[in-house]
Assembly symmetry: C2
Homo-oligomer: 190 residues x 2
Amino acid sequence: MKHADLTETQLASETVFQGGLLRVKRDTVRLHDGNTATREYIEHNGAVMVIPVLNSGELLMERQYRYAMSRHCLEFPAGKIDAGEEPLATGRRELLEETGYVAGEWTYLATIHPTVAYSTERILVYLARGLSHEGGQLDDGEHLETLHLSLEALLELVRSGEITDVKTVIGAFWLEKLRRGEWPGGPVLP
Amino acid sequence: MKHADLTETQLASETVFQGGLLRVKRDTVRLHDGNTATREYIEHNGAVMVIPVLNSGELLMERQYRYAMSRHCLEFPAGKIDAGEEPLATGRRELLEETGYVAGEWTYLATIHPTVAYSTERILVYLARGLSHEGGQLDDGEHLETLHLSLEALLELVRSGEITDVKTVIGAFWLEKLRRGEWPGGPVLP
């Protein structure tokens, strides 16, 4: 099928807000039909999510309070990529910092985009196996707790609407595809 | 399992940026351990995604250029909830505006949160069946095109990394669960 070229070309770009966490850009663009328009979006350095599979087959997850949601969320470990950091290094760092675990085997699974309409954020998803606990995790205050969950229990929490975080929902579905062997080319999982 | 209460309580809130599209808030919060912290986030009115299933069983999808991604994206129809608008009305409006279709049967499926770390956005997901084309869609310039796709083809584009938009990825997995009858309580699909 022949698709239309709807590309929008940058004419000008400025930073209109720089906070402690968020940077907002406002660009002027030329549309495919020759008109101009304004595009406002968050500039984000990207993030990494880790799906840690314990030797028991259970998944290592975190529970933390998400202020913007006004609720506690159950999620796979994840965090932002530091400037100049390799994504795999981000995965190792976040897994250790947040859970105290290190993994012997890392497998890249996918890249997803949470907010195509207003943020450049991408999330790289890695599978982490061969886990061992090194401890020495969270510093003072402990703002999250970790727990072990079977994939079946996780999917039931997705179905029932208790887990709504998109990266975690996609991680659960993706893992099920791999475990069932329904996605050729992916890693074979126990 | 007994979980810790990690609730963060608002002490102060201010709007630190108001653009044409994005509003950034910065709140001071009291943490569960008594310390205070700053939380910066996008205040968003929410959105609706529609999974339109044609009478043939194929899915009605859109392709548009996403400037923040620097690429064309294949997505289910979706759009922001206007102030005071009922989510179902948003779904009907966006489906008609973007594709020219109306649906006779609407079923609520799920609510997902794309960015738990820095946006209040929630996306309500509806299934739309009994579709008929009323036409009279996009106005001048046409910034998107529509296409029909089987669920199998859609899932293959997810697996291969061509479709990365989280709401669309979750819609595809969710629909497969319903079609296979693996999620009790959900609508029975042909």
